[in-house]
Symmetry: C2
């Protein structure tokens, strides 16, 4: 069987697997902490070592395995043509030739695309957006990323900068965002932003189960804490989940009125909150976007939890090489 | 020579002309007030009478003229397949079969698309966005419309609702918009919104040349008044123009981070303000959008003042029939 190695580089974790040529299976799938504090070279070396492990495991499971190439998904901005990641604060990379460093080490033809673009490609290939002519994907985590499909094809834009859906302003007078802009969606609805809103409320005197869950240390509160407490019926946590749905709803409603997609896919751990998040989210979108756009669009969790980026990185490689 | 009749239906004016097959010339170009208060049928009858006049004038100027068909641009939402305008508050139309009523009366094959989509098509065909793979158009007037080109093609979306760029939220807690949503770009930067901000400031006691220009009657202040007063160096008017640039800048920066286009075209009377508007607008975009997206994008006034909609309606007809 033929495989493409998919590498999903995140600020927190690295995920690597060998994806079958039809996208139906991921073999030898491994996850490790990225280890950003160890420095750029250590991260690249870890990726290469993990990739070699995945290749060995794939050959072990399938004696006739051929690895065609390696597709890499990384936070951007990046240049697909040169394979260089221009700058990523989360990884502390500047002008990192990640595509060639990994491709050369593995002696495989390689490709590079944005990590959220890869998630969109994966979900479009074999996940929640199969067959969609127009689709939008949001990846919710430490940051908020996005990918856009129009006419069945990924939109890269003039300089590979399309789909930065965490960095659209939803409040003209809003919170400063890590990107330098003010009022970005990411400043309200990313994991750290959700946690920060919880801490702010507790510091202002709110009584909540989150204080106990975090052992009395607000610094240990994460988005996960908020969703857990909300599942237990905690009042403040419920409010924070509703606020999150509201902010996300604004960003997604804007996309409905802009691109009128058939499906919006939400990827990331927060989707485990299920209807607790999706019901108010869909309500907010319906309240804000035009009716024909709302009626034409499904808003759903991703179908490839944990592997959308790996599968999509392989798909991106195929789109470049096949 | 062969021509396509282009009809641009606006809430204020109707514009009709015969467009040469290559888009290079508009013959017999006429403009008349739409006359919405006279009722839906009167508007349709006026369009048909004007169109007959344009056809006669075209034959007078070119004895070998052939009119191939009629392309119609109208505010939406609408259904391109059935040729029906579903609902337009500005025209007071509900489920109006505008394509077939006009096509049948003129005995010509006809097409229907959104008016701002037509402006984008016109500018892409022979105007400010020629050759662009990815482009975005804003039409600024009584409302704010939009059109989007991705991969060289107009984006219609799943239900012809794409490109409603006036109805993206720029302030999650913002002003109520005519569309029912809150904080839409249109509620801040359309002509009436600019005028309303002027009136609010005057009612709050601001001293400005606009009071004299409008003969002391705030109801007579329009966006045009604001831009005139700004050209005269009026302080309040300057502030209002800067605020307008800021609001527009937020909407456009969001599009840069979303679609990373090569060109953003601004159409409508306000573009006559020139650098007084475009300089602060470009500054605001640069402040908010990612650098690779800003560097890749020109932000320019439309090149087809007054006829982009007519030319683009003809182009939309060609795209459907040629």
């Amino acid at each position: 069987m033929q495989y493409i190695l998919g590498i999903d580089i995140g600020g927190t974790n690295l995920v690597i697997g060998a994806v079958t040529e039809d996208g139906s299976r991921v073999v030898g799938h491994v996850t490790e902490p990225t280890g950003v504090p160890e420095g750029p070279d250590a991260v690249i070396n870890r990726i290469i070592a993990m990739a070699r492990g995945v290749i060995a495991e794939t050959h072990r499971q399938d004696s006739e395995a051929t690895i065609l190439g390696v597709g890499i998904g990384s936070p951007g901005p990046l240049n697909r043509k040169t394979g260089v990641v221009i700058f990523t604060p989360n990884l502390r990379w500047t002008n990192m030739p990640v595509r060639d460093r990994i491709g050369t080490a593995l002696e495989l033809p390689s490709s590079l695309d944005n990590d959220a673009n890869c998630a969109m490609l994966g979900e479009h290939w074999v996940g929640a957006a199969v067959g969609a002519k127009n689709a939008v994907c949001y990846t919710l985590g430490t940051g908020i990323g996005g990918g856009i499909i129009v006419g069945g094809k990924l939109v890269h834009g003039a300089s590979d900068a399309a789909g930065e859906l965490g960095h659209v302003t939803i409040d003209v007078n809003g919170r400063r965002c890590g990107c330098g802009n003010y009022g970005c969606l990411e400043a309200y609805a990313s994991g750290p932003a959700i946690a920060r809103r919880a801490v702010e409320a507790i510091e202002a005197g709110a009584v909540t189960a989150m204080t106990a869950i975090s052992g009395g240390d607000p610094a240990r509160i994460t988005a996960q804490t908020v969703f857990e407490a909300s599942a237990m019926g905690d009042g403040l946590a419920n409010e924070l989940v509703l606020d999150t749905a509201r902010y996300l709803g604004v960003g997604i409603a804007n996309m409905l009125n802009t691109l009128n997609p058939e499906v919006v896919v939400i990827c990331g751990g927060v989707t485990r909150a299920g209807d607790r998040l999706f019901e108010p989210l869909r309500r907010e979108i319906a309240r804000r976007a035009f009716k024909p756009a709302v009626e034409a669009c499904r808003v759903v969790p991703g179908a490839l939890e944990g592997t959308a980026g790996v599968v999509g990185a392989a798909r991106a490689w195929l789109d470049e090489h096949a």
